[in-house]
Subunit: 502 residues, 2 copies
Amino acid sequence: MKPAHLRVEPVDIDVGCDVVFLNPHDAERLGIVAGSRVSVVCGGRGLGALAAVNPSVEAGKAAISRGLLKKLDECSSVEVYPLDLPPSFDAFKRRLEGKKLDAGDYKRFISDIVSGFYDDAQIAAFLVSQLHHKLSEEELGYLIRAMVETGEVVSFGEPVYDEHSIGGVPGNSKVALLVVPTVASKGLLIPKTSSRAITSPAGTADTMEVLARVTFSAEEIHEMALKARGLIVWGGALNLAPADDIFVRIERRIGIDPPAQMVASILAKKLAMSVSRLVIDIPVGRGAKVEDEKEATSLASMFLSQASRLGVTMRVALTFGGEPIGFAVGPALEAQEALETLIKGDGPPGLIEKACSLAGLVFELGGVAPRGRGYSLACELLRSGAAYSKFREIIEVQEGDPDVKPDDIRLASRQFTLESPRDGVVTSIDNVAITLAAKAAGAPDDKSAGIKLHVKTGYRVRKGDPLLTIYASNDARLHEAIRIIEEYNAVMIEGVIVKLLP
Amino acid sequence: MKPAHLRVEPVDIDVGCDVVFLNPHDAERLGIVAGSRVSVVCGGRGLGALAAVNPSVEAGKAAISRGLLKKLDECSSVEVYPLDLPPSFDAFKRRLEGKKLDAGDYKRFISDIVSGFYDDAQIAAFLVSQLHHKLSEEELGYLIRAMVETGEVVSFGEPVYDEHSIGGVPGNSKVALLVVPTVASKGLLIPKTSSRAITSPAGTADTMEVLARVTFSAEEIHEMALKARGLIVWGGALNLAPADDIFVRIERRIGIDPPAQMVASILAKKLAMSVSRLVIDIPVGRGAKVEDEKEATSLASMFLSQASRLGVTMRVALTFGGEPIGFAVGPALEAQEALETLIKGDGPPGLIEKACSLAGLVFELGGVAPRGRGYSLACELLRSGAAYSKFREIIEVQEGDPDVKPDDIRLASRQFTLESPRDGVVTSIDNVAITLAAKAAGAPDDKSAGIKLHVKTGYRVRKGDPLLTIYASNDARLHEAIRIIEEYNAVMIEGVIVKLLP
């Protein structure tokens, strides 16, 4: 086979992954079959891609998808080789067999994943193997380091703080909108990068985006963070621990989320932002990601042991996650509730409680408050308006309108309010039902969609009292959300007298 | 979202799987993201496909790959829907968690796989789960039945015989070229469908294709088999247990081959051809698929218990697989060796031994020979020329030239002969090295490439005697094959006197 210098042309066909289209004759000459993986080499650097065949591509040319072309630094001619197995395949095979890999193995394996040398089937195999052969503490550490080292690292030259929730409870995305300005208002550096929703109706980045821009380059983030001390931006546009984005995509396809991989995912992203002091929030309760305390404790120790291995000072908080946080679910509704709370310095007790507790733990990690005193300091900063004025600065540096008022936020036009069918007490509000219904209503893609609760567990209601209102942009979505709320019996009302004996 | 009636146009872009290309605006309107899976519905029947976006596709049209269009019966307008999770995803999740699935679960799961509703990551997850949560006997039976029922079944109205090797030893592909005509020459019906090479330098279909056509429709095979009594054709063009082709493709990517899946694969293909009497060959030895007898015995009992569950009369033979079978490796060389052996009624002892043993077991299954007497009957049929004249009939019915002579078969033009570096005895010939070198030389895609051995284990050689000859079509391939042979020390020669004491 002759080496194949092919002239590059960009192509706008999008098949959802990096791809190179070849003329059928070139493909045959190079021994490349459509659907197989190839190495696309430019300037000594090879990246993996899907090979496809397209008769409209001229002979001698390689039509390359835009994303891949960018990774290849827009080079003008490439060589394309069949790639039967990724270079680190041997280590991958050993992992499938349950053998332990060392630091070098993980480095090579993760680097090959980031280079596109592994396909979805292989990555899924790696993730599923973890359900059976758990990663040892050492291996998890190697994996995290490898994930950090194969991406960009943003450094600040001073200690970086952060707070991160593993999520899984509706209404939780707004908590960071209170914690970050509270922490930053005392001068600690907290440039929070967060994700968009994965399975929930709103991620912190989705919610913040209602009020400001969240997509910036690493350089911009660096500069803005030093100016405002706090940021709430989307991590996805940066090249922080890029292997994680690949893992998350596959985990969603196969519906698994191995705990060690979750720990790796969170810590790798944080280390890439040079975070050295971190508070982790694990909501625990029915319908949350973690349903019982034992599981939460085991997850917490996994976080703590890796933190000490990686030089991160950490505290982990197990928080009540048995019902939605606050009253609002969905990006616009949550942004509105966070903004109201910051302006008033007061809001839903569960939300205030959670935000002050987490911000307080950050203060204690930073030595700003003695142990046990962080909570009241945080509440004071929230109450006094210090957190709100810091939030205005953050909105401004992120190119939003700092004068925005809660009523300025647009909500979806179609609404339906569920009323209580009887007198009684709210005995539970189902996380899963609220999540599914808010998503059916259109959240998070439709930012204006979601659910507003009028009650919380323990509230007394009379027949006909409003329980919740669904917001949606069209009738089909509204009806689907109503169907789910009713099918799941999302809000349980029990008579005060549950049972009468004769 | 409105239902999307899109006009169909065929497209020649090949990305290696079923794909539908949409105009970007249509994709957005339908909530479809490039790289996700969609259901393409025509006449009430939905098939899964990869969604891609191509600005050159007109709005209102769906550009559909030819293979998918054929499965949709060339329909002219389709509806396309996002497909988040396959309908049987719940059963799939339970399997990943190690729970047992019932017959209905497997039926739905396999049917969804065949419909294209599962992606590579999900199928890999299913296969890897088997390494840890082995399929129970019941489950394996359900899986096999589901694989058969989701494809075509060819029926003959009389008992169908077959012989199948799990392979893994170089030179093995030609054995069936001796067994099938031997069995058919006694009138038993043996319409063997075989695969092309998966990891070996030649599959039986590749080797037979040197002498005759091997790709036919199910109807043609039915008719030809009843005429010639024996056939050696490629199963891949038929729709026999199509789930298996999908599993095999993914197994190759992740480099695993769970034993239960191998049993399912072989038996499903055989049941789809209505085989009811089957001999299974498990080669055992260093460098073979199965390296020790214990593993082979456990695989054999898995075969036997499924056979009795599925109503197949079976015998399993563990055969010597510690070195290549016969002297020839690669399609053309193996076809030549098989033809020579059939014409002369004699050939390499290992090959004759193996073919007669397996054919003999088929005779015993069919009651044509009493137990223990099949071997000599088979050898007699081979020696007498009965097998050769039947082979001529088979070649003819498969549209080849029955008068073909071994010397008519074209071999690759570049050759290199390895000579013995010393006087001594051949102590081993390495299966793995021979396989890799034959593949490096170009087999099986280049049918004329391969390796011819001049010695076998136990032969005495003198320094300079030829050990093997490599055949390749170009120098690059020839040199790579030589490099592998030398690096692996493929043929070990030891001095007759291994050690001298004073």
